[in-house]
Amino acid sequence: MRHAQLIGAILAVVAALVAPRLLSEFNLRLATLSLHTSIAVIGLCIAFGWTGLLHLGQAAFIGIGAYATAILSTQLGLGFWTTMPVALVASGLVALCIAVPMLRLRGHYLALAVLGFNVTFEIVARNWTKLTGGFDGITDIPPVLFFGIEINDDRSYYYLCLGFVIVCALFALALRHSRYGRAMIAIRDDELAAGTSSVSVTRMKVLAFVLASMLAGLSGALYAHHATFIAPQDFEFAKSVTILVMLILGGELSIAGAILGTVIITFLPEWLRFLGDYYQAVFGLLVLVILIVMPNGIVGKVKQLWPKLTGRKTHV
């Protein structure tokens, strides 16, 4: 199974590298969208999947990252490589500020409190016109410069995002297998036991929450420079719910699941467009079907079917 995972990961990276040569321009755009969104989903995987914090406000942190980079690059003319770290720090700092009081809450309280933060963020973004441009949003966000070359076509931007996704996935994997990652899982599985085994539960929760939000911020920065336009409605709480759907549908609360879930939820409604007026209803139905057929998500189903496919017995 271990080898299989490694081979799977390598195959996925190779497929992702050659994909732009095979995809139509429209599908390439969707692939790029999936890539930068998946960074926020990986973030949620850390906070929820491993630490058990039901964080229903990723869209707000995507928004903070997007606004930070958009404001700095349009008003001060700073480049992406300066604004992106600021976006990361900004979303991390906001997360830190709200984490301390909020992480005392558990389960659904936390989820709905963060959801409330998301709604409030939207209202502030709409009304703080001087900074955020209000409803009209921020237009003409400049393209990313990569060693002096403008990345303004979809194919190059795809590779830029792919690079970030690989880095984030590797970072998350390293975290998962570190002392911190094990502590996080311990918290999810049994907070009481983790508390007694001298792991600072609160500190770990804050760390997970802040990391998740920083990844969302990075996702937002990449979104802003891809769309070149942002407005408050891009960061509605409904998007936070979608991000959770992506993580659960991908399955097993894993990195691979996070990425797979994002790709499916991004592509599925677009592919269903041929159904005309019915496509959104069919999309809702398909989400249900996937859940019922694969209650542990797609990755979970693959793991379950693996022995049957290979004819070998494995212990998962």
């Binding site: 659904h108 309280y109 709604v119 209202i123 709480f237 659960i248 809702g284 139905l285 859940l291």
Partner: protein, 292 residues
Amino acid sequence: MTAQIIQLALNALAAGCIYAVVALSVEIAYESTGVVNFAAGQLVTAGALIGLSAVAFTKANFLPAYLLVLVGMSLIGLMFLIFVYLPLRRQSVLTIVIGTVGVGIFIQNVMLMTWGPLPKSVRSPMGSGALKFGDVSVSLHVLYVIAVTAVLIVAMYLLLYRSSVGRQFRAMAQDPEAATLMGIRVKALYAFNWILVCVLAGFAGLLFAPMWLVDVTSGDNLGLKAFAAIMIGGFGSVPGAILGGIIVGAIEIFGAFYISSNFKDALVFASMFLFLLVRPQGIFGERIADRA
């Protein structure tokens, strides 16, 4: 000025009653199964739109029309039970929560195809009359909303705390395994639960539509407000959900009047934070502790 405050209080109470009934629906689903129902808003809209068609079908004969809504919402509840809840019952609660997101998208778009996107007005069984007390004007429908909400609350109380069904229901909520061993028919109770959840949401729809018009997205906002209401009132508490709903209605309307209409929704969520910080368990607290 006093007249204005009474007027606003009445409107806040009417809005609060609607939020309270939606919150009650969300609360019952949560308390008995641990599921946060993200389709609540869409179920409310469904109640309103089925009501619209039923009133037209029965030629404004309200009793049979309401019965039709009752049947329709029960069918939705049963379908949710059979196609979503039972197959996913053994999975983590969150899988079912995501299931409700899928159900919400599905119901919303089926409604869009059935009733179209345009807003519609719905008749009230009370007609369109209003009572005037000096400068205060209150429509008969608003009084009707307040009365029906009161009746629903009392009925829920009797059902949950004073009947054998209610006892079994609460036993199931605490521990389904033990309840099964005690000979409680858990599946029938689950059916009862989801029917109740949908019927309550449907009632909220019947109540709000004559006041506020209805289109396929009407319920979305009500669902969100119901979540705020539950946060304020406290998860796992039926009286908390009701009081929370009324508080949210009051914050909205008095916030818009005294502070700023720009930030009235932000005020609702700011107060929610405040409640969480000061009293994380809400006003009435959670009886079934620590659901993750």
